[in-house]
Amino acid sequence: MIEKPVQDADSGPKISFQNVTRRFGEGEASFLALDRLNLDVGDGEFVTVVGPSGCGKSTAMNIAAGLTDVSDGRVLVDGKPVDGPGPERGVIFQQYALFPWLTVRQNVEFGLRIKRMPAAERRRIADHFISLVGLKDFADALPKTLSGGMKQRCAIARAYAVNPTILLMDEPFGALDALTRVNMQDQLLDTWNRERRTVIFITHDVDEAVYLANRVIVMAARPGRLHKIIPVNLPYPRTEEMRLSPEFAEIRNQVWHAVYHQNTRTN
């Protein structure tokens, strides 16, 4: 059998949402969480998704992760439809979701252990990513001894360790304080620059959305749907100066309006 789609996958999008629809509940009580979402994300692209609560951004991410089924439509990864979770898609949750009984290193090794990778290799890979996120001195610490930011860095290292080509991040910095958050954004971009992956990053912070992304996807609620796509034409690496620049402010304004004045714009 000749695998033709591989060639298409190289030129086509890394991940493609096609008419993705999700309805929760049945009959009268049902509601449309996501209505015909169409979105293509290119290989190595960093897109952020913002929108009011109920816009279906988490639902879209869970569908892409394979944790939620679609009611209609499909998600393609490298041209193949998503059916359940897969190692090529790493997920980072807002609540960190570290296994509290495992140390940082054991958490990072979790996915590798499942793959039955030999201990030495597992350890080498885990240590590489633990260093990458700056947790070298805490490799043997239990999660309860870590701060929120450190926990999330551990979760990022764990997701990276299984070598996914796509990272799905659901408000990963939502529980962190403003200062730690800015720090984490820089670290994430730094990690992403060194180990390029396709990233879909959900946030409710407009600033964060603009600072991180190639493109900001703005969604609307009731029913959850795509509202607007705003490109961020700022080069990487992003810097503090850029964050305070007029260009940044301009894009930030656009996104802000798209998020907070959806009705006035569309009416």
């Binding site: 992760a65 394979g66 944790l67 979770p85 897969g86 190692p87 898609r89 790493g90 997920v91 949750f93 609540q95 979701a97 570290l98 296994f99 509290p100 009984w101 495992l102 979790f110 996915g111 499942i114 793959k115 239990l142 999660p143 309860k144 764990r158 299984v162």
Partner: protein
Amino acid sequence: MSTLTTKDEDIAAKRLSSANLAPIALNLIAFTLAIGFWWGITAAKLVVLPGPAEVFQRAIELIASGQLPLDIASSLRRVLTGFLLGVAAAIPVGFLMGWYGPVRALIEPYIQFFRMVPPLAIIPLAIVTMGIDEAPKVFVIFLASFLSCVVATYQGVISVDRTLISAARVLGANDGVLFHRVIIPASIPFILVGVRIGLGSAWATVVAAELIAAQSGLGFRMQQAQLYYDLPTIFVSLVTIGILGLLMDRIVQATERRLTRWQERAR
């Protein structure tokens, strides 16, 4: 300024040491007060009960005659047999109930039904159907500890954090891995609470079981002593049961602390 700091440190140090010593000191004070109170009311003939000295003397006699060790051995054997069998059965059943919906639906009504029937109420039935030797006594203890422990285990499995399950799934865990590496460790704290409750139920039941039909045991000894109006022996048995229960609980507690060191505790 410097004197102030030293003073503060002094106070802090004092607080620290008193915090360490306080529980033990308070335990001792409580113990002494209780003995004193007991001695006081018996010496003043306020109640017709044996005093501490009399009970202590009887304890020495019973130990010397070998009767107390024999009673302890028989009661302990029953408790341990019934309790260990109960826990050994409760853990797998609890896991099955938590993991498989149909198993839960099949078993849960029976568990809830028997939980509402006090194990002691089963004793007459057990004696009629199993005779008056060890079997009915061990059986009711088994039932008592099984019922307390099975509910805790099942609760533990169903209350495992959904995000941890999702995290394991996206890292590539199938059902087997999920069960071994996530469900079991995550439910251990619940199971151990169940084990502690089960142990309490086991002791509560053994005495009642021995009151009804036995040739030895702490409950049996009390029953005998009651016939002869031998209050000191009743007291010796009561205190012995209390001490044994306390010791076993401490062992379980120590195990619990060791196995759940990873848990975040609110002191």
